[in-house]
Amino acid sequence: MFEMVFSLAMGFLFGFALQKAGLSKYHKIVNVFRFTDLAVLKFMMTTLAVSMVGVFALNTLGVVALPNIPATYVIGNLIGGLIFGVGMAGAGF
């Protein structure tokens, strides 16, 4: 039960950040593939950098255990990513 409510709250902040970055808009998404607006990349890489430092700092301090890391299966990740990119650039999600 706690996990459900907690996830709802995390989702709330997630959606809030996405909307504030403008990533709920079609042109923001598609323009990263046209190299005319790199907001998606700036946003993604900032998220990556912050979460990386945060999670591994807490992990090093022994406070946080690492969860299951998304599995690598090269062909699947590659083909899935290729299909995903078509939908993303086409629809602009």
Binding site: S51, V55, G80
Partner: protein, 173 residues
């Protein structure tokens, strides 16, 4: 308060907020936030009620079990959060075709936008199912652990996204 009412944040600020969300979520519950999995959980539920035999396949039994999971709660939260953010900044509008750039390039026809959205959504979700996640769950959620899967996925996403955008925009690319 002023900041909350702004229409658009710098991507660095919004990205920092999302980064903190990942840290808090992983620290408190060990859940890596993602968006695409929820659709599969809900899709599995629908399959269970309409085509029970179909829902008994390996994918729904072991990879993505149907049900109202934490992923569904995150997705619900994303919608509410985005709505509140848009409401606060006065950015919220009900429109059938919402994007000015789309209207300029592809016209105002509603059916065209909705068709592309619908088909694009299916393609995107299908791809995310194969890859094991989407931009949030795999690219960021895996990337922060330097998982190879995340970087293969990001590279592949751009490798197909760029030519698709080129084809769609053609001379306007």
């Amino acid at each position: 308060m002023n900041l909350l009412k702004q229409k658009e944040w710098s991507p660095y600020l919004a990205g920092t907020l999302l980064g903190l969300v990942y840290v808090i979520s992983i620290a408190v519950t060990g859940i890596i936030p993602g968006a695409s999995g929820a659709f599969e959980n809900i899709g599995g539920l629908i399959a269970q009620s309409l085509y029970p035999d179909l829902a008994k396949n390996t994918y729904f039994q072991f990879v993505m079990p149907p049900g109202i999971t934490t992923a569904v709660m995150i997705l619900l939260g994303i919608m509410i959060g985005a709505f509140v953010s848009a409401k606060l900044s006065g950015d919220f509008k009900l429109q059938t075709v919402s994007d000015d750039q789309w209207k300029r390039v592809f016209g105002k026809a509603t059916w065209k936008r909705w068709l592309v959205l619908f088909v694009g959504g299916i393609i995107l979700e299908f791809g995310a199912g194969i890859a094991g996640g989407c931009t949030s769950g795999l690219a960021i959620g895996g990337g922060l652990f330097l998982a190879p899967s995340a970087f293969i996925f990001i590279a592949a996403m751009f490798a197909s996204g760029i030519p698709v955008a080129m084809l769609m925009y053609w001379r306007k690319y």
